[in-house]
Amino acid sequence: MSDKPKIPGEGASPIHLDLGARNSLAPVVRFFVHAVIMDAGFSQDFADEIELALDEALTNIIEHTYNHDGVSQILLRLDFAPKKVTISLRDWGKAYNPLKRADIDMDDYLKKNSVGGLGVHIIKKLMTHVQYLPEGKKGNLLIMTKKMDE
């Protein structure tokens, strides 16, 4: 008999990860988070979309906030509620609000063979709610929530 919750996310324990900010670590983290979300009873498609949004958010922190320094820290928190997953990413780098970037018109973007900025676009497309909070003089907090369709 499966011990997965009957309602996805119900009763699932939160996860905390203290990560080194390296591109090579991002795939390991997203695989793990994907597996935990599946274990909490969510569908493959739901976990796939969160995995991709997480990958994009981690890449933004590693590249834009920490400029690939390879040693800085990211704190990841994964919280569950019935039919809802929330990922919080805390860093201690320079202030960077990814949500300030202008929305992309993909047709125009692709026509011009433009470069960059797609990560935030993907996050906004795949997650239900995305919130950025500056953390004092140093650091950022990005909170991404995804709810199951009713």
Binding site: N23, E63, L118, H121, I122
Partner: protein, 120 residues
């Protein structure tokens, strides 16, 4: 998981080279992909078809590599098409609007038949 790629230069009546991707195309492997494309861009083939049947994961970095490839080919009046995307990759391509903007085909046979007509 690593990205693997294989470039087949003698396919489709010697007019169109095929780039076969498998694994995960994410930020960790985008530079490798860009380098591989740069090396091939000066080859005799201006027209390319990208086989996505083995590609299991695609992030924005992978999409950037595709856009970069298309841009480079257009500068030498070349063209590009894609075929046989897996369900997961197909969803990302749809969400990001690439399915509207680029030629995509269900499988290699369809791509060969339809893309070759315009690849002179």
């Amino acid at each position: 998981m690593e990205l693997k790629y294989e470039i087949d230069k003698v396919e489709w009546q010697k007019k169109v080279a095929i780039l076969r991707l498998s694994g995960h195309l994410d930020r960790a492997f985008q530079p490798e992909m860009d380098d591989a494309i740069q090396k091939e861009i000066d080859s005799m083939y201006r027209h390319w078809a990208v086989d996505l049947s083995g590609l299991e994961y695609l992030s924005s970095a992978g999409i950037a590599a595709m856009v970069n490839f298309k841009g480079k080919l257009e500068r030498v009046t070349g063209r590009i098409c894609f075929f046989a995307a897996t369900d997961r990759v197909d969803k990302v391509l749809t969400v990001m609007g690439l399915k509207r903007a680029y030629p995509f085909f269900a499988d290699e046979a369809e791509a060969e038949a339809k893309f070759l007509d315009n690849a002179n």
